[in-house]
């Protein structure tokens, strides 16, 4: 059985960050049209990331000696939930701040920490993550991209795809095979950092249905990596990737992807008036939000206590993304009334969120994979 989640609160010293963040967002983000803010953590704006960096809000959890603020995960929770609720364009630094930086901090060498972490904190190093490949999706252990050790470093060949922001990033941390064959599965996988400006790297953006290009395909054609490109232990890539995913799955971004739409709809209801059905629906969404937020904070609390609540994180992500997907579905239903025309920004936010919602439950592990993990946690497999 899986352990219950405690009711854990955000400490006052972390809450104290909030007013300044909200004031900053009012000035910097308030004027951006709702349908752009609806892009949530897919909205890219390097200049905005630099402004956050000037405030000291990138690498909030990194140690001070590496340019961070030395704060805890719940301080970052406050920052991130406010950024997402406002629809701030956080995508440029998102992966570096959430995953790559913490990964380097935990598994990297001292030299890697000194090189990368301060650059991440200054918004000078944006990262992407190379996991999926043309024939590797949920079955991540089947990666075939290979880094072969040779005199003076590694030779990288293969292809990654669906890589968020590869075309805008400075570096990729890629999961690659460094020994054995795909039949060896989790064994022989390692993580390497790739300078995306190196010769032999070819990046082709992939356009999505909204006309944006968040993803890219990245081909490595005899790319030479220095010896210190390896992050952590050779052969420990699988373990390192999984440690990373517990953080990726339980954060506020698994609850708030449709927050801008929910906010726009409630603003519109305040102006135009609400039927009892609309009130009941809004109350339902608020109730779900409250419970999910408490669960997400509960998982963060356990992560901070040094535990590894991987199954609980999977549970929060599956429920959270269901909620994120429910918002455009039910808001569309209640707005589809003969004789009713809602505001343009609301309808454009709805159109964007509804179109992108299917991806919410795919990124970071599909529903079926997560439910398989929960079933294992319950002793069913």
């Amino acid at each position: 059985m899986i352990g219950a989640l405690p009711l854990s609160a955000i400490p006052p010293e972390d809450e104290a960050l909030r007013p300044e963040i909200r004031a900053f967002l009012r000035d910097e983000v308030g004027h951006i049209p709702a349908e752009r803010r609806a892009r949530s953590w897919m909205g890219f704006d390097a200049a905005f990331s630099r402004k956050l960096a000037e405030r000291g809000w990138l690498g909030l959890t990194f140690p001070k000696e590496y340019g961070g603020a030395g704060r805890g995960a719940l301080a970052r929770y406050v920052l991130v939930e406010e950024l997402l609720a406002a629809g701030a364009p956080v995508s440029a630094h998102w992966i570096a701040d959430r995953q790559s930086g913490p990964l380097i901090q935990r598994f990297g060498t001292e030299a890697q920490r000194r090189f990368f972490l301060p650059r991440i904190c200054r918004a000078e190093a944006f990262f992407c993550i190379g996991m999926s490949e043309p024939n590797t999706g949920s079955d991540l252990a089947s990666v075939t991209t290979r880094a072969a050790r040779e005199e003076g470093g590694w030779r990288l060949n293969g292809e990654k795809v669906w890589t968020t922001n590869a075309q805008h990033s400075h570096y990729m941390i890629a999961l690659v095979r460094t020994s054995g064959t795909p039949a060896d599965r989790q064994k022989g996988l390692s993580q390497v950092v790739v300078d995306l400006h190196a010769p032999g790297v070819r990046i082709s953006p992939i356009r999505d249905l909204a006309g944006d290009a968040h993803f890219s395909a990245v081909v490595f054609d005899d790319v030479l990596l220095p010896p210190d490109a390896l992050i952590g232990e050779e052969g420990s890539g699988w373990m390192q990737v999984n440690a990373e995913l517990a953080f990726e799955r339980s954060g506020p971004e698994r609850v708030l992807s449709s927050a801008v739409l929910l906010d726009e709809w409630s603003r519109w209801l305040r102006e135009a008036g609400a039927t009892e059905a609309a009130e009941a629906l809004l109350g339902r969404l608020l109730a779900h939000l409250a419970v999910l937020r408490a669960m997400s904070i509960g998982v963060t609390g356990r992560l901070m206590a040094g535990e590894s609540p991987v199954v609980e994180a999977a549970l929060v992500k599956d429920l959270g993304t269901e909620f994120e997907q429910m918002i455009p579905a039910v808001v569309a239903d209640i707005l589809a009334r003969p004789g009713l025309v809602a505001s343009g920004p609301l309808m454009r936010s709805l159109a964007y969120t509804a179109a992108m919602a299917p991806s919410f439950s795919l990124r970071g592990g599909t529903r079926e994979i997560l439910r398989g993990m929960i079933a294992r946690g319950m002793g069913l497999r």
């Binding site: 009711l7 109350g283 109730a287 904070i297 609980e312 599956d318 398989g372 069913l380």
Partner: protein, 333 residues
């Protein structure tokens, strides 16, 4: 403290609220033995301040006891009696022995669970608690159903509607018992899936079944979290109950109850609706709980309306933080 109390509640119920005992009470048998144990345990005065002779516990500390009663499908108003005794103590009224239900006011009478064993019904009149003997009431047979009886006291001696406070308190007791019942349903569904063999292997080995039970697990976790959120004592109600928190929790627990019941019965095959299985005692408890003190639509509208009409026009996240956040009980007490 919390877990100590829970352990003794679980111990009490496993000794005196076995499924045979529960079935006997439901069939009209005397609940005397179980009730005497509950009275002796002190649980019933958990929310009564120490100065008035109670234990003076908080909502969060009482919650595990209510959930345990739900786990055992105890067919007695444990939570309601606990709340009623706190109300009576606060009003400086006497607290009689015996089971007390919170009545849902209707047309001068009160709706109570069908053929309940309760001796007393707590109503409200002129904004003060009004305790009435159940046996002095007349049952309105035209309005009776498995979901409840309508009781009327002769000579217009019932309540006058009364404050939302009692209604919200009743919802809290229901949702806590429901969250507990769902924990037990999950455990027995997992066990059944591991023991029941079809096509030469336990049904738990089938991916389709695993995925369903995972969904159920998620809802049980969400229901428990909702109950915890509803037990943060930062409201104006009894022992600090907050109607907004209760609105969110009753709604979320009610939604979970539907999905959990459906999956549990699906995994059990049709066996769950047979008399011999305990599952229907528990899912029946969920069904009844959903119907008492307001369902999802009622509480959703209550919450949505409050959010929209509040003068401060907060965004959804700010509202949730301000009114429905996971504050630790110690910091808000």
């Amino acid at each position: 403290m919390d877990s100590l109390l829970l352990r003794s509640a679980e111990e009490l119920f496993s000794r005196h609220a076995s499924s045979d005992a529960v079935r006997a009470i439901r069939a009209g048998g005397s609940p005397g033995a179980l009730w005497r144990e509950l009275q002796a345990s002190g649980f019933l005065d958990a929310l009564v301040p120490e100065t008035a002779g109670g234990t003076g516990l908080g909502l969060a500390e009482a919650l595990p006891v209510l959930m345990a009663a739900g786990r055992f499908a105890v067919p007695l108003p444990v939570g309601e009696t606990m709340l009623a005794r706190a109300v009576l103590a606060e009003a400086g009224q006497e607290r009689p022995e015996g089971t007390i239900l919170l009545g849902e006011p209707f047309d001068g009478g009160a709706r109570v669970p069908a053929s309940s064993a309760a001796e007393w019904v707590l109503l409200s009149r002129n904004a003060a608690p009004l305790l009435r003997r159940a046996e002095e009431a007349q049952r309105d047979d035209r309005m009776a159903s498995p979901f409840g009886d309508l009781l009327r006291w002769p000579g217009d001696a019932g309540g006058d509607g009364g404050p939302e406070e009692l209604h919200a308190a009743g919802a809290w007791a229901e949702l806590a018992a429901m969250a507990g019942a769902m924990e037990r349903i999950l455990e027995s569904t997992v066990r059944h899936a591991q023991e029941r063999v079809q096509f030469g292997r336990p049904v738990a080995a089938f991916q389709a079944v695993q995925q369903q039970i995972s969904v159920m697990t998620e809802d049980v976790f969400a229901a428990r979290m909702a109950a915890q959120l509803a037990s943060v004592p930062d409201g104006p109600g009894i022992a600090g109950l907050n109607p907004l928190r209760i609105a969110a929790a009753k709604l979320r627990v009610g939604e979970a109850a539907m999905r959990v019941s459906a999956i549990a019965h699906a995994v059990h095959g049709a066996m769950g609706i047979t008399e011999e299985m305990d599952l229907h005692l528990l899912t029946g408890r969920l069904q009844a709980g959903r119907m008492r003190f307001g369902g999802e639509a009622h509480w959703g509208a209550r919450l949505g309306r409050h959010f929209l009409r509040a003068g401060d026009a907060m965004d959804p996240l700010a509202f949730v933080r301000a009114h429905l956040g996971p504050m630790e009980p110690e910091t808000t007490a």
